[in-house]
Symmetry: C2
Subunit: 342 residues, 2 copies
């Protein structure tokens, strides 16, 4: 079979360390010859050196891969927003990653901050290309006492329909339960669009039970009864907030995987741990690569290697079950998971 | 002394039940003659009967009170947004309730869903009159495949500065620690205004330590280390989300009090439990009136009756410490708290 062609952006901080383990596990499950990786030096280091975030030529090259793997980008020396807008969100928007997929599962053996979390296994389908993330809005009279700053959340029937449809599909192949999360009682322009769309698409999914929660109420259930959720569909910003909370509830950001998926297949999808670059522990082999390894499993599933995806997940699950309080280096965790796949 | 003049909006669902207990406790601590209450029939019942949400004449009457007490409004028969926009938010905006004050304290004896919550005692200062709550935005081509719906978050230097200043003041009289929560790396137009304002006002508060967290990260800390917070200042929507989560972490929405405060004193402030009208348990004496009683304590503090406020809080604290799993009616809880004030 033709090898899987991956564009890899290790990024900054702990990014390179966790990506190395993700690729180690990928090699172990596919066999080295079955993967071709090309590394791209993008992120804070490059920005400091050249002022570049994502040159057009690099973006076009990235477009040619079967999928992308990203570690984490950013360091405290880069002004807030520069790499987010110029690199991470630029990739999500340019490659039309409209399904930002974030599973939350409490694996056996993993400690939750909740006293009685129950059997937690849900996935958040976060819209990835519009909402409050468009950068629309602006500033009038910046820096004066008369300043006005606006942020415009842009929501289209086109954008909402495709992500809602994807979420219904996933609910159908899971436990048949979809929860729309929004704030329709206040953000009623966008809220009505989301609710109308869920109602309309739901006509085609009579086997899927549909619930609605305001985003504030959803955060309550995420700590009092997270096991109630199967698939959550929500907008870009609510999804950002809920998935960090969901990660915390299911053992922390060190385990949370994500996929920025272009489900139409018109550009490569990108897989990345939900965590950031954690500059405070960078280069010390302290980071947990599990989130990246699970992101690799999502990548495998996305490119149709479903068996291999399940094997990686099973290896992670087995490792987590025996992990306990042991302190291991980033590489040791990667080695242990890879060894289970040999 | 002249009696305290209160406008009371019991509202719908459990609203009237919990408000009755709040007023019972108020009578107990002040003595009946010291309070004059006028009840207003506003909410779902009135809307169903007359189509009115908040007639102008009623609003002008409400403007004349020393403070307002609200139970909860809404029932499933009212379309989402009608009472929120037409009554609750209308009052908050018309009476310029720019400090939406929401304390979170884990009282001794109260169970948290967290396994190890620690010593939680913080207050969220939520901006109450702008941000994504203005209703700005609109819909183009509603109901068609080409629909575009926008929500505009409006943030002004005027609005941000006054709430940030209030939050610094509160931090100074508490443990001297202020955390700004926003999403500056994505919502950078508004984010920069908030950050610049906190930096500028902070110059006058050298004794207050200032932190910043993205809203997604803040939700993580609210479940992994809520004791780290003292005062959080944030925008209207982030504040809505964080305070429901904070309520859940500190024993649930049945205990969460709030004040919609016009700190400039140009219109009456309004105090209300964070919970809603809970139509499923309405009229059954099942609702916990504690959130309303604690809102009454906030009301007392606001009108300068600080000793009485502290006495109500102490009575609640004592009741909570002995509460355990006992099942009591709404009135029994109110009676027990009132009895401690006799
Ligand atoms: C870094 C930031 C732009 C990003 C987001 O807000 O989407 C991150 O928080 C995430 O969830 O992937
Ligand atoms: C009912 C709703 C409009 C309100 C809000 O969003 O502010 C409520 O959730 C609250 O927190 O008081």
């Amino acid at each position: 079979p033709t090898p899987l062609r991956l564009g890899v952006i290790p990024g900054d901080g702990i990014g390179p360390e966790v990506v190395a383990e993700g690729l180690k596990v990928l090699d172990a499950v596919l066999g080295g010859a079955a993967v071709e990786t090309t590394h791209y030096d993008l992120g804070a280091r490059r920005w400091h050196a050249t002022g570049e975030t994502l040159p057009d030529a690099v973006m076009e090259e990235l477009r040619g891969y079967d999928a992308l793997l990203l570690g984490a980008v950013g360091d405290p020396g880069v002004p807030s927003g520069v790499l987010e807008r110029g690199l991470l969100l630029k990739l999500r928007f340019a490659f039309d990653h409209y399904v930002n997929l974030r599973p939350s599962r409490l694996y056996p053996g993993v400690a939750s901050p909740l006293a009685a979390p129950g059997d937690v296994d849900f996935v958040v389908v976060r819209e990835g290309t519009e909402g409050p993330y468009t950068g629309n809005g602006g500033v009038l009279r910046a820096g004066t006492p008369a300043e006005v700053a606006t942020e415009v959340s842009v929501n289209t029937a086109y954008g909402v329909e495709r992500v809602v449809r994807d979420a219904f599909d996933r609910a159908r192949s899971r436990r048949g339960h979809l929860t729309l999360v929004h704030k329709t009682n206040v953000l009623s322009h966008a809220g009505r669009l989301w609710q109308r769309t869920v109602a309309a698409v739901g006509q085609e999914f009579a086997d899927v039970r549909v619930d609605y929660l305001h985003v504030d109420a959803a955060t309550i259930f995420l700590v009092t009864d997270p096991a109630r959720f199967d698939v959550i569909v929500t907008d870009n910003l609510f999804g950002d907030i809920l998935t960090d909370l969901a990660a915390a509830v299911t053992g922390g950001i060190g385990l949370a995987a994500s996929g920025n998926v272009n489900a139409a297949g018109t550009a490569p999808s990108m897989f990345e741990p939900v965590h950031g670059s954690a500059p405070d522990i960078a280069g010390q082999q302290k980071a947990d690569p599990t989130a990246t390894v699970l992101s690799v499993a999502m990548l495998l599933e996305h490119v149709g290697r479903v068996d291999e995806a399940r094997r990686v997940e099973a290896a992670v699950e087995a490792d987590l079950a025996e992990r306990g309080d042991r302190v291991r280096s980033t590489a040791q965790v990667g080695d242990a998971i890879a060894a289970r796949l040999a």
